[in-house]
């Protein structure tokens, strides 16, 4: 009989669930990894989420983890947990191909990126590398598909990671976010995506897209899982020039608390100006949930939100040119057409405009700080995306007035705002549209206060039942 995904499969366990069973000896890391590998084999013909599955290495690591756990050498909550890694992040012994023919013949990475080292040190087991848009520059992530409807895109650029989590192949994955590339696929696939504060996680060993915006972070099954993974990967890296040496607060520290004493701002400026009806309805239904959990919920205004997106996009696009223009002179035909066009066009944007965007970012950062301070906010909430996952053969969002917006602009219109400000932003599942596709909600907090953002997200997650619904690809 052929394999059919089942909710009893071990790979469906969250980190929080698996870590308890692992310690009671009810399951083993080998069982967990084998379950993930079985599901990959079953789904990959439809999901296309992986560029490299490291089955033998993962099983060997699982055996080591099993021995360690049995002997009492407990590395913590991630010990024995399978993790996926986006293919712009170095994993020793595996070529980092970045989804590009340009790197088809690149040598295997000699060392792990520090974020991978941190995960291995925490006992996590690398399952393999996941699909990304070419050099993380886009939101479609072909050929990966969305587990809720395989005719839809998973979003991007960490689309393979999000699709793997949504298909419950594994509970955590490494993503990167420069203009929304963790939160966009998280929202499109109905999973949790946490963009930490810029500088919180080392980005050495991660192929750059735009240096002053690039952020590494978790995609996860639950907010608790994202927080546990962030605990493992966060920290100052003196060899990463953009790393920030800020005090660290355990991201799980507040997870069990309700929202008493927490102030949440509902922000509609910019974020609700052009969204699909079902997304708007889901967002409006979400706001009372925070109050029910004890939060004080207030409406706030931030007129500069649209400017944050504009400045973020300029910075993103111009820095991407600087990353790729030399290689593109030599290897133009090996780049995909979308990136050729992007680099060719944006190379012509004036440097004064880029520097103006950098200046604007300073003013915009001050403006969001004013909004938080004047309203005594812990976080703001906004829709993650203006629309659900688009069809793979027609990558645009269609609004109720019949107008269309290409996903490259639509998805980043909301998400890039928080790359410009650098603050932490958590996207989580916020219900479904009439076709059963996920919608996302974003909670953005104060810089370096990921623990508070996770607390608010966890309270929302506890109060809702959205995660009980299963994607079409893995059955009821």
């Amino acid at each position: 009989m052929s394999y059919q995904p089942s909710s009893s499969d071990l790979c469906e366990l969250s980190v929080g669930e698996a870590m308890r069973l692992l310690r009671f000896g009810d399951i083993s890391p080998v069982d967990l990894v084998q379950s993930s590998l079985d599901r990959i084999s079953a789904l990959e013909p439809s999901l296309h989420a992986w560029v490299k599955v490291m089955g033998d290495e993962a099983l060997a690591a699982a055996e080591t983890a099993e021995t360690e756990l049995r002997s009492g050498n407990d590395r913590g909550p991630l010990h024995g947990i399978p993790v996926a890694v986006k293919d712009i992040v170095d994993v020793a012994g595996v070529p980092t191909k970045c989804g590009s023919p340009v790197r088809e013949d690149v040598a295997p990475a000699e060392t792990d990126a520090p974020v991978v080292t941190a995960l291995r040190n925490a006992g996590a087991i690398v399952l393999g590398k996941t699909v990304t848009q070419e050099f993380a520059a886009g939101v479609i992530s072909a050929p990966a598909r969305n587990p809720w409807n395989p005719d839809r895109i998973p979003g991007g650029s960490s689309g393979g990671s999000a699709a793997a989590i949504a298909a419950r192949v594994c509970p955590i994955a490494v993503g990167t976010d420069t203009g929304g590339s963790i939160r966009i696929p998280a929202a499109a696939c109905g999973v949790v995506g946490l963009k930490p504060t810029y500088g919180r996680v080392s980005k050495r060993g991660v192929y750059p897209l735009a240096w002053s915006l690039d952020t590494v972070g978790p995609l996860a099954a639950t907010v608790e899982d994202a927080a546990l993974m962030l605990n493992a990967i966060a920290g100052f890296d003196p060899l990463d020039p953009q790393s920030t040496d800020e005090p660290w607060q355990d991201a799980t520290e507040e997870l069990d608390r309700d929202l008493t004493g927490v102030r949440v701002g509902v922000l509609r400026d910019h974020f609700m100006e052009r969204v699909q009806d079902d997304v708007a309805a889901a967002f409006e239904l979400s706001t009372p949930v925070f109050a029910e959990q004890g939060a004080e919920v207030v409406d706030v205004n931030w007129p500069e939100a649209a400017l944050a997106r504009a400045a973020g996009m300029i910075i993103n696009r111009v820095e991407t040119v600087a990353v790729h223009e030399d290689a593109m002179r030599k290897l133009r035909d090996r780049y995909g057409e979308e990136l050729q066009v992007r680099v060719g066009a944006n190379r012509l944007f004036p440097s004064a405009g880029y520097l103006r965007a950098l200046k604007a970012r300073v003013a915009i950062k001050r403006s969001i700080q004013r909004v938080f301070d004047e309203n005594r906010l812990d976080a703001i909430i906004v829709p993650s995306l203006p629309g659900v996952a688009s069809p793979a053969d027609d990558t645009a969002i269609v609004y109720s007035d019949g107008s269309r917006e290409p996903v490259a602009f639509a998805y980043t219109r909301l998400a890039t705002v928080f790359n410009c400000t650098g603050q932490p932003a958590l996207s989580l599942l916020n219900g479904f549209d009439l076709e059963g596709l996920p919608t996302g909600l974003t909670i953005a907090g104060r810089p370096f206060q990921e623990a508070r953002v996770c607390r608010i997200g966890a309270a929302f997650e506890r109060a809702t039942t959205f995660r009980q619904r299963r994607p079409a690809l893995i059955g009821e």
Binding site: A306, M313, N346, R347, F349, K359, R361, V362, A363, F409
Partner: protein, 72 residues
Amino acid sequence: MATHYVTEELTSSLAVAAGMPIPPGQLTAATELLDALFAMEALLAPLDLDGVEPELRWDARWTVTAAEGVEA
């Protein structure tokens, strides 16, 4: 959102002048992208940024060896 001031002719000639011509088949898409970026900049116009210094973190210490430096 668009300025519509950026034409394909302008994009093409700028690209040639900048030493990286854009193939004719990509000119329409490239022009739309460049135009969109100018539109983004136009959005920033109302901000009074006089006296605002961009946050550029640059380290003048010699921390890398010449062998790790940029190739000539």
